[in-house]
């Protein structure tokens, strides 16, 4: 009996060690590449540190945060406003469109895989390539690709990224070309709904909309929640799509999102202010994510046993 217990204990320890060994690389990765920079940046945000000077600068307490909401307040609130506006407009559109697309592409018909690939392809484009591409596709000149298309239909050239009035709209439009990433997740979720549910619905004579609102959407709520959370985080951190755009200042100034502002401080050698603003953004994202989690009663995780 003792021997059996010892063997069982040994096995348990071995299992524990092997499972720990599997997660160790991730733990190390998070510790080295996420936690350490986070702690460093928190430290920098209370100092006066420049990218052009080695090491941590002198301790200045909350001065950098005071500056953000003092001297720089107008610009920072402007950036926060732009970022939220982008999130509020772009996120629902992206969620609805990608879900609608997934509903269509979750069906089995000839050539559906080709459609899925085509819609997913833009997601695979590196941000730099995408930026260059959109800069030449959607600038306000007569010769930009989109304006050539408009001219073919007799329409006047549109300013797209070259005007302060249209740049924001163009940027949201550009973002829609990457709805493929959410679409793939929706398709996986829709496909995972048991056929038996649809069979019962058919027997009960449910039409398409009843199936959509009573089966598909409720069963997809975990994915809605996931896409919502990820969408909020990604929208609030929008950055690479902006800095890779080679467009007129008039347009670029409208895309003054928070992370773009952080990058600007960093590029101006002001590491401390960049770090302080990063932490402000971190708190904003944390609060919004927490609230979203708090109000997630609508998410259906299956029947509890």
């Amino acid at each position: 009996m003792d021997k059996n217990m010892r063997t069982a204990q040994k096995r348990k320890i071995l299992e524990w060690i092997s499972s720990f060994a599997f997660v160790l690389p991730v733990v190390i990765g998070i510790a080295v590449f996420t936690l350490t920079p986070m702690i460093s940046s928190l430290g920098y945000s209370f100092t006066r540190t420049y990218t052009t000077v080695a090491g941590m600068g002198e301790f200045v307490g909350l001065k950098n945060y005071e500056n953000l909401f003092g001297v720089y307040a107008e610009q920072i609130w402007d950036s926060i406003g732009s970022t939220f506006l982008f999130t509020v407009i772009s996120l629902p559109i992206t969620l609805v469109l990608s879900f609608a697309l997934a509903l269509f592409l979750a069906k089995d018909f000839k050539g559906v895989k080709v459609f899925r690939v085509v819609y997913y392809l833009p997601v695979m484009l590196p941000a730099v390539v995408s930026g260059i591409l959109w800069s030449s596709l959607a600038n306000g000149s007569d010769t930009s690709a989109l304006n050539v298309v408009l001219a073919a239909f007799g329409a006047k050239p549109f300013a797209f990224y070259d005007s302060e009035k249209t740049a924001f709209f163009t940027f949201i439009l550009m973002g829609l070309f990457t709805i493929g990433s959410s679409m793939i997740l929706w398709i996986a979720q829709i496909k995972a709904i048991p056929d038996s549910m649809f069979e019962v619905a058919d027997l009960e004579g449910a039409n398409y909309f009843v199936r959509l609102f009573k089966i598909i959407i409720p069963m997809c709520t975990p994915m809605i929640f996931y896409n919502l959370i990820m969408g909020i985080i990604n929208s609030l951190q929008i950055f690479s799509n902006v800095i890779t755009l080679n467009i007129e200042p008039a347009g670029k100034e409208q895309l003054n999102f928070i992370v773009v502002r952080i990058y600007d401080f960093y590029n101006s050698t002001d590491l401390s202010t960049a770090c302080a603003l990063s932490w402000v953004l971190f708190v904003i994202i944390a609060v919004i994510s927490a609230l979203t989690f708090k109000f997630n009663k609508w998410v259906y995780y299956g029947e509890e046993v």
Partner: protein
């Protein structure tokens, strides 16, 4: 079949991964046994790499006990430099553009080359163009020489001769009535420039309206719809600063600097009546008549190398863009047509780290018992760069004009492409023109400089737009109500710049 394709794809992908194991930019290993190795950091562009190869080969022939090791600056210049700062692992020598050294020289990462000069009878900075030496200081009060200017980059006018040869003047002669490039060169000044612009514009407009009437020569030259008169680069400081000064303005007024009592809103003179008048003149003379196009500032692709402009305001290294575009038109050069011409340069700096490194194979300094440090060897390398031999090696690449005044009228650079070209215009003094080192921005706090630079560029993009100027341009610019749209934009940008200055000082 499926399995075969899968295995094949896996092999191809593995091979692709393996290619990352070798550094394509790394120079072949060379024997450093018994030699002093000096690391030189340069950008990854082909021009910079080739330039260093030229210097290295010549230098190592002269100094057989020294090996120059090329270190590629990964990413952009500032990213690479910031990484060096963070790791403390600078190469002995680094390439530096003249307008980007201040962030590092002012923070003590480079050595002041005056120290080496004072101890060296074989060299004098007096041999280098003084306007280039002016760019080696990190602000207006600094006298240090923080890098060795390698080339003399003055803004000039690149000319597409094929286009001008197909543009008649009122007298029927080509070159807008001047008959030949030589005659145009003799008459060249601001007025002549505008006169030729008008003639070129007229041809382009006529051809756009009547495509059937375009002559073969004009079609061949590219004088058709969509072609621009000037690819002006008006959003580039060496160009716009000179143009604004020509018309009596100044974006930055360093005469307002007063130490701790400086009123930065006066130093930042983007909104003074003189400067706004200069904007207005630029708009009147260049933009309103259609000689420059606002869209050229955004695309990032230059029109001139692609046969889409008759003139281009730029510097000698832009020949590289013309080569890259495989341009086939006849190219030549004329002076920048305004009273001022911006001058800058790039070069090499010796890092502070080099002074801390001493090779075991280093020789003993003459007259001392101390061994030569890497910085001493780096100085020898820098001297070679600005020697006639080194400058000639660089001149062979065609993209640099020697920084050495003695090579004003001699050397390989004068033979690049053709000795018949007006190469002299890159260096010769024009009696109606003053050259200016565009480095006034260094007078601002370091963390505000980027914002000031970017917002000045933004102002320039609005200056050329029709919808920011009223129809009646004769009203004095002091009447802000009359010019409310343009003042509104200037004020908006000045506010952003002032905020950053205040934020930089409020620490």
């Amino acid at each position: 079949m499926k399995k075969f394709v899968t295995i094949l794809l896996a092999l191809v992908m593995s091979a692709t991964v393996l290619t990352a194991c070798s550094d394509p930019f790394k120079e072949p290993e060379e024997n450093t046994e018994g030699k002093v190795a000096i690391q030189v950091g340069v950008l990854g562009t082909s021009t910079e790499q080739e330039a260093l190869r030229k210097y290295k080969s010549g230098f190592q022939e002269k100094y057989s006990n020294v090996v120059i090791q090329q270190v590629q600056l990964p990413g952009g210049y500032s990213t690479a430099m910031d990484n060096f700062v963070a790791t403390g692992n600078f190469p002995d020598v680094v390439f530096t553009p003249g307008d980007q050294h201040a962030a590092y020289s002012s923070r003590g990462h480079f050595l002041d080359l005056r120290t080496f000069d004072e101890a060296d009878d074989t060299f004098s900075f007096d041999d280098i163009y003084p306007e280039l030496i002016a760019t080696t200081h990190y602000d207006s009060s600094d006298e240090g020489i923080w890098f060795m200017p390698r080339d003399y980059n003055k803004v000039v006018t690149f000319v597409n001769k094929d286009m001008l040869a197909a543009v008649p003047g009122e007298n029927g002669q080509m070159y807008a009535g001047y008959g030949s490039f030589e005659e145009l060169k003799k008459a060249w000044n601001t007025d002549t420039f505008y006169e030729v612009c008008a003639a070129v514009y007229k041809v382009i407009e006529e051809n756009a309206e009547n495509p059937d009437g375009v002559t073969d020569a004009q079609k061949q030259a590219g004088l058709t719809k969509g072609t621009n008169v000037v690819d002006a680069r008006y959003n580039w400081a060496p160009v716009y600063e000179a143009m604004v000064r020509h018309y009596g303005g100044k974006m930055i007024d360093t005469s307002q600097l007063a130490g701790d009592a400086t009123d930065w809103s006066k130093v930042l003179s983007v909104d003074t009546p003189e400067t706004v008048t200069a904007y207005r003149e630029l708009y009147k003379e260049l933009s309103k008549p259609g000689y420059i196009r606002q869209s050229l500032a955004s695309g990032g692709v230059s029109a001139f190398p692609n046969k889409k402009a008759a003139f281009w305001f730029t510097t000698r290294p832009s020949i590289g863009d013309i080569n890259s575009a495989n341009a086939t038109f006849a190219l030549d050069f004329l002076p920048f047509p305004y009273d001022y011409a911006g001058v800058g340069c790039s070069g090499y700096a010796i890092t502070k780290k080099a002074a801390e490194r001493t090779s075991e194979f280093a020789e003993v300094k003459a007259g001392t018992t101390e061994k030569m440090t890497n910085a001493d060897y780096a100085w020898e390398f820098l001297k070679y760069v600005v020697s006639e031999e080194g400058q000639d090696a660089f001149g062979e690449l065609g993209m640099g004009v020697p920084s050495l005044m003695s090579m004003k009228d001699k050397g390989e650079w004068l033979k690049y492409k053709s000795a018949d070209l007006n190469h002299a215009t890159f260096v010769e003094d024009v009696d109606w023109q003053e050259t200016i080192a565009v480095n006034d921005i260094f007078c601002f706090p370091a963390t505000a400089q980027k914002t000031i630079s970017e917002n000045s560029i933004s102002i320039m993009t609005y200056v050329v737009k029709d919808n920011f100027w009223p129809d009646d341009l004769s009203v004095a610019v002091t009447d802000r109500t009359h010019y409310d749209a343009i003042y509104g934009k200037i004020d908006q940008y000045k506010d952003v710049m002032m905020t950053r200055i205040e934020g930089s000082l409020n620490v």
